[in-house]
Assembly symmetry: C2
Homo-oligomer: 222 residues x 2
């Protein structure tokens, strides 16, 4: 009975890791569509988000099924509930990749972000890529140290987000209001992507140590 439970739980964990792989791929391609004003890639990211949503629903269904059949208690129960919360956060990261792709599509054939800021967006995308890889690894390994790395990467993301906002100060912005609005939202999508990775990391910390992460997940959402 115990082994059946852990086999099922491993399958849920595998699906969560698979979700992070899909989300990482989505965000990489969303960034490419944004910086290269590539409509076909943007469309494919938007369409592929359905697959992430479907896998999330599978995780939820499998978790509920697991609760019904195996009736876990204590830590085992916590792990199943945590998996559902993680699936929710990872699915939301997929939504944010889709938002980036939609911003690219909305301004096509123009670019949504001024050329001068491509470097910073590229840095955000790079941090996002490392965040989602670290998230997948932390889930697979149930690794608290991975959570620390995620928190560190998220600090880098916040720094880049602030750097973008610095561009809007005073009279220095010369790209027009619409570009400022687009850039604001796009920068926020990357920043929120990081927040959800941290939420997943905090769940892992809680699961392993019984204590909430460095910062409370509910307080962290910005």
């Amino acid at each position: 009975m115990r082994d059946a439970f852990h086999d099922d739980l491993d399958k849920v964990s595998d699906d969560l890791v698979e979700m992070t792989t899909m989300v990482g791929d989505a965000m990489r391609r969303a960034t490419a569509s944004l910086l290269e004003a590539d409509l076909a890639t943007a469309e494919s990211v938007i369409a592929a988000d359905d697959d992430i949503d479907a896998l999330r629903r599978e995780v939820d269904d499998r978790a509920v099924d697991l609760l019904a059949r195996q009736q876990p208690v204590a830590t085992d129960l916590r792990m199943v509930v945590t998996a559902m919360h993680m699936a929710s956060d990872i699915e939301r990261m997929g939504d944010l990749a889709r938002h980036v792709a939609k911003a690219a599509r909305r301004r096509y054939p123009d670019g949504a972000v001024p050329q001068a800021l491509h470097g910073t967006i590229r840095e955000m995308a790079d941090v996002a890529d490392r965040l989602v890889a670290a998230t997948g690894k932390a889930i697979a390994d149930k690794d608290v140290h991975g959570a620390v790395e995620i928190s560190r990467l998220d600090d880098q993301m916040d720094e880049l987000h602030r750097k973008i906002f610095g561009e809007f100060l005073g009279q220095s912005w010369e790209h027009g209001t619409e570009a400022a609005v687009d850039t604001t939202l796009i920068s926020r999508y990357y920043e929120r992507f990081g927040d959800h990775a941290v939420a997943v990391a905090d769940r892992i910390v809680y699961l392993v140590t019984g204590r909430y992460g460095t910062e409370d997940e509910g307080l962290r959402g910005r």
Copy 2:
């Protein structure tokens, strides 16, 4: 045994309704702090978000405890799992109220939103207020019709969000880049507030009918 379960579940439901009351109050006061550049009110909204987060954690703990002690299956199990998902969405609505208050605090003693847009923000706040009230009522009554009303209100919210974005078009914006950026984010906070109400409504529809709402919750997040 069955009665103990439903007593416990009622308590969870009461807590969710209480959360919507707290969130509604937070958003009303956040809007006041924003439109009146009222620092004390902004600070109190930011501080009070901890109470919403704490109640969310209570709901989660109570739900896990309920699963462990009562081992519900089928619809009963789905109801407990759904309650946890709802708590997550409602808590996030509280975060969004806090974001509005933080935007007010950041620009104090100036206003974060140009006077010319106060009317539209007031309309968004009014829709937000009706959304959260309808959400509380739909949870209390397990009412699918309430979900339809929530969807209709969210459409109004999206319309107002688009109206704000219309202000940024062409050369018509005369309030500077920073005000555009602030207004963009604030408008998005209200719009996301509506999305989370819809996510709760979709959960109720699923619980009552076994079918997903008019739109899939995962696809809806914008």
